[in-house]
Symmetry: C2
Subunit: 469 residues, 2 copies
């Protein structure tokens, strides 16, 4: 982005010392040369007009013009007719340009999970919602606000969570945060403050994220196995943990739904052990079977702390999420949020409130559900053609599936060979408490992969999944 | 905001069980009644059309229509001709409306410090910048990004900080965060990780904020006195602390500027003790004298971690700030930011980058400098008229001043009496490590107080400041 400072800069931080024996013009020249040499003024940057500079430093305009002329003669500055005076090329130290992360090689298809269709982000709706929110915002709302977030968004979100997730959502106990990661970090700090020492997590699940957040909160993290009915509550009981992080509606990464008897057992465990269930409700908006699964939070609102996010429904870059707290924990969680960053950006909150309340969010979800269903069908078709008989599970919701590799085939070999065919595949290994344990499986994320790319990617790499080299 | 769900909701979470002996219509009726009674569906909320509901649940449309008619007859639903079916009043449990914080009583003038002119927030410029950023954003940038923040904003910010603050700003070592509070929280966690055990803070200063952030990071916080030259570096040396939080350009709340010899002493202390200076550069954009004061960071980039924010230049509600790190600490700070929330909202960052790069930010600052200068002049005029001879200090920058109360007058008495005259005044007490220590002083924030309100407020309360009841 070319820098186009409008007219004068706020201040150039050039001082002249009237008590010095050095003439004022020399002082100004030295100051400007130093600013250019050290990169404080960069190539192409516009200088204040001689009038503005003279006013700022209380010098005569003629003196500033002479100084600019001198530096132009020396090659530090350039002036084009009818244009501002700018810093010339070649005098600054090598600028420290931002080193972009190395671009990943172009892939035929990248089946990385957890990414929604980024190209389908409703840009126009978001622009509309931001504009409406900014136009309507009272100036008092531009101050620091309630660290829980805007009352307007909490009201709208609570309605949404009651309606769509069967949550027992009271806006008083909703805290808006910057996405799931912050919700988890705050939740674990709150739990540490209540005397919890150990937090359990699903295995497979998100060991790295939970372990890091637990360590930051001073907690110990222990894995608990997941089977085809979801989290093993008996095994959880045996850990002695008084907190657990679960994905009941669509287990990450296996995709299994926590069975009804397990839900009841989990709520019962929390009550008996004075424990808290942290519910990660990450992608339940997208379901393809006909058995809607409400949030666990609705079953036991005093025992479940539910975290939601728009990272899967809209885009990760928005960094908006929420924590629905057991009432006893709302105060502490609000305190930690306040301490963390004094609340989430207000205009973003108000924009999301308008997006939901206007029905545009629902419309986007409906559109995306159709789109993901088509990609899911394309994935199954392609697998049937190129890896027939491959066991694929976890397809009830969201936008990823899990393929079980044939005996003797390792995740690493498949991932590496697929990369050579320019297909991004990902093993379940990093999702395991012990990456080497458990059967070899591949997670296939199709959220950000178009139908054609799904077909091409599986055509290229399907044989690897089937165990053919 | 009236909820206007567009057409059907994503899912109402009503399930019908085809294996049950209960007729489908009865199941649907029971489900809807329960949703209304428990508040999952609220008064006035729109139901999906019978067509949509029928499609979702794979029922006949006639069955859904019969069910709606039945619930209408029972008073659960209302239908107006040509309008959607909605939930009728009177059946839900009392909704948990968001309880707004009690509105403060209307004041003639509220001299609370630290708040910029909220009514002058450049709404149209922000809408423009957001729209431009959203239109131009590549979809890959809507994914999770570099936790340090957008390369575009870091590049533009680094230029701004070099130019306006004489900072040694390298975009590689800038981490965008959600305002000063997050910057401080992250910085203290990083310092705790490097073995720092004690952090010093200015007294008077922000004892509550530093103590809370220090406690969260596991650090001990100790006060160090401020005199008319700023922080007492000899006293700092004696604490044994290896970190200190300072406001060198415009000390909060006294308004003194850290003297040149103190700046050098502070940088020397940091080098000798392997210590880090956390520089809070909160309002230095607004200066009224002619002695620009560069950031301390420019003097000792390896030893100073500088935190900036747009809370004073634009609005606190934006929640955007940055940390300019000593290179040795950038990695750790980025890691803590990642763990905290995976990065600041990208569109907001890109909007700020455009605001700065287009020159609109500079223009806003110039406008605000004129406005604050006028308010400052109005304050001094009013004080000269209503509290002549009152010692007022700290006027070099920002938008607050400090008035010293006459002997025998307490902050509490003045604040209480002023409130009865509907003027918000604030004592320095809460800024002191020991609120009872030190001379009685009042902080007069004029950022969000118009010239007329300044005059009226001081006319009403000036006598109190002068020690007249």
């Amino acid at each position: 982005m070319p820098l186009e400072w409008a007219g004068s800069s706020p201040e150039l931080l050039l001082a002249v010392d009237r008590t010095s024996r050095e003439p004022l013009r020399a002082q100004l020249e030295h100051g400007l040369r130093a600013a250019i040499r050290t990169g404080r003024l960069r190539v192409g940057e516009r200088l204040p007009s001689s009038r503005e500079m003279a006013r700022t430093l209380r010098l005569s305009r003629g003196l500033v013009q002479e100084c600019y002329a001198q530096l132009q003669a020396e090659g530090y500055l350039v002036t084009r007719p009818g244009s501002a005076t700018r810093v010339a090329a070649g005098n600054a130290q090598a600028p420290a340009a931002v080193r972009e992360r190395a671009a990943p090689p172009r892939l035929v298809a990248d089946f990385r999970a957890g990414v929604p269709d980024l190209g389908a982000f409703p840009v126009q709706d978001w622009i509309w919602a931001t504009r409406e929110a900014a136009r309507a915002i009272p100036s008092s709302a531009l101050d620091y606000g309630d660290p829980r977030g805007s009352a307007e968004l909490r009201e709208v979100l609570a309605g949404y969570l009651r309606r769509v997730r069967a949550a027992a959502a009271d806006p008083e106990h909703l805290v808006v945060c910057n996405g799931y990661a912050q919700g988890l970090a705050l939740a674990l700090r709150v739990l540490a403050g209540t005397g919890v020492r150990t937090v359990a997590f699903e295995d497979p699940g998100s060991p790295a994220a939970v372990r890091a957040a637990a360590a930051a909160a001073g907690l110990h993290a222990v894995p608990v196995p997941v089977d085809e009915h979801g989290l093993d509550v008996t095994a959880l009981e045996a850990t002695g943990a008084r907190a657990v992080v679960v994905t009941p509606a669509h287990q990450w990464p296996t995709g299994v739904v926590l069975a009804p008897e397990r839900r009841l057992a989990l709520a019962g465990w929390a009550r008996r052990r004075d424990a808290v269930v942290v519910e990660d409700d990450y992608d339940s908006e997208f379901r393809y079977d006909r058995e809607p699964v409400g949030a666990l939070q609705g079953l036991a609102p005093d025992r479940v702390l539910a975290i939601g996010t728009v990272s899967k429904t809209l885009a990760p870059a928005l960094r908006i999420g929420w924590v629905l707290c057991p009432p006893a924990l709302t105060g502490a969680l609000t305190g930690h949020k306040d301490l963390s960053d004094r609340g989430t950006a207000t205009l973003d909150q108000l924009a999301l409130a308008r997006l939901i309340a206007s029905g545009r969010f629902d419309r986007h979800l409906r559109r995306m559900r159709v789109r993901y269903a088509a990609r899911r069908a394309a994935l199954l078709d392609a697998l049937a053609a190129h890896a027939p008989g491959l066991p694929v599970t976890g397809l009830a919701a969201g936008f990823h599936a899990v393929a079980r590799l044939p005996a003797g085939v390792t995740e690493h070999d498949v991932v590496t060979a697929a990369r050579l065919r320019r297909v991004g595949l990902y093993g379940v290994g990093p999702c395991r408490a012990d990456p080497a344990a458990g059967p070899a499986q591949i997670v296939l994320g199709y959220g950000n992969v178009g139908e054609r790319a799904v077909a091409e990617g599986i055509a290229a790499a399907g044989g690897l999944l089937a165990g053919r080299a």
